[in-house]
Symmetry: C2
Subunit: 234 residues, 2 copies
Amino acid sequence: MKYELYYWPSIQGRGEYVRLALEDAGAAYDDVARGAGGMAAMSRMMEAGDTPPFAPPFLKAGQLVVGQTANILLYLGPRHGLAPKAEAGRLWVHQLQLTVADLVLEVHDTHHPLGPSLYYEDQRAPAKKRTDEFWKQRVPKYLGYFEQLLKNNGGSYLTGRRLTYADLSLFQIVEGLRYAFPKRTKAFERRIPGLVDLHDRVAARPNIKPYLASDRRIAFNEDGIFRRYKALDL
Amino acid sequence: MKYELYYWPSIQGRGEYVRLALEDAGAAYDDVARGAGGMAAMSRMMEAGDTPPFAPPFLKAGQLVVGQTANILLYLGPRHGLAPKAEAGRLWVHQLQLTVADLVLEVHDTHHPLGPSLYYEDQRAPAKKRTDEFWKQRVPKYLGYFEQLLKNNGGSYLTGRRLTYADLSLFQIVEGLRYAFPKRTKAFERRIPGLVDLHDRVAARPNIKPYLASDRRIAFNEDGIFRRYKALDL
């Protein structure tokens, strides 16, 4: 069975957490909206069936359609060795992924504090304030938490000796922060040596390294979650 | 086994979605931080064990500690008849709950657009702008989605003929919007007759009705997610 991933074709966004899992697992998938069917195929799927997703990304696996990034990973994880099969372990990895999802939302709010339906250009001043708070309060809280978990496990992976999809997502967080806030991130990295090391090990994985170099990996840009606005990196 | 729920003792907040599920199920639980142990018991738990939660709420079930609201409900649902046991149904209900969680975060952002670590009083003007966008764009999108799902199912419950924890959460959404934005909500309710009807049926359920009248139900207040600020209800 070949998975069908449905997500906006021109950004990494939330779909990237799913792409990284599928790529690391070596799973066969179509990134549908980037293919011949394009956005029309995605729109059709959003209106069809008994379980219409609220928003992309969503994954078609045979007859099943699963939406919400963390939920897709919950489904994929145990099937592809990216999460334990036992309930307690599955719930723990999912819990960490939901915490990553909260962080991702707060990243988005740095450039869209007045809401997702207005342009950044219409909210520059509040964006600057929110970003300052984000780096002062939220980044240390979130990344400090994940750094501590790594330390508790002797530095290998978030939940122990085996990589999970939550580790892949943390790679993306570090990568995204480096893109969006190069100066702030550089200054902060001395406080998260474990996360930086995890990032580097993920980037070098046998399936991730070629993926990152391929054109399947969309470049960061200012339509995604992580956006580079100079005014927010001061 | 008696569950232990850990959450801030003076607000409904995110803990309320768990309380509603436990109450509807008639499950035995201690709301620990509201008991003799108080906040100290909660703080101790947050620093103990191999799977420390990032933030409340979290649930102790025997030896298992589960954090993140939607993850707790994922765990409780099939055990208490509040979600299907089969995987496809479990994922679908969870997907809806994660969409509710996104909405809850956007509700919080209406009064805290500049971030959770500043006071509302320090962000009144951006809060007004965010709230206007919320009601113009986001409420119609989210509640319109849930209303349509109810319609697709003939109006009974979100996912079919049986109530799930996602229905309980939607009760709380309607209740919260009515508290925080009485005028706006009143004007909007004509567009969501199915949700209003679902709200009323949940409120009348044999275990929910006495819960709502009991002192286990904390009153809405301006420390929670749903806050009544007159300036935001114009």
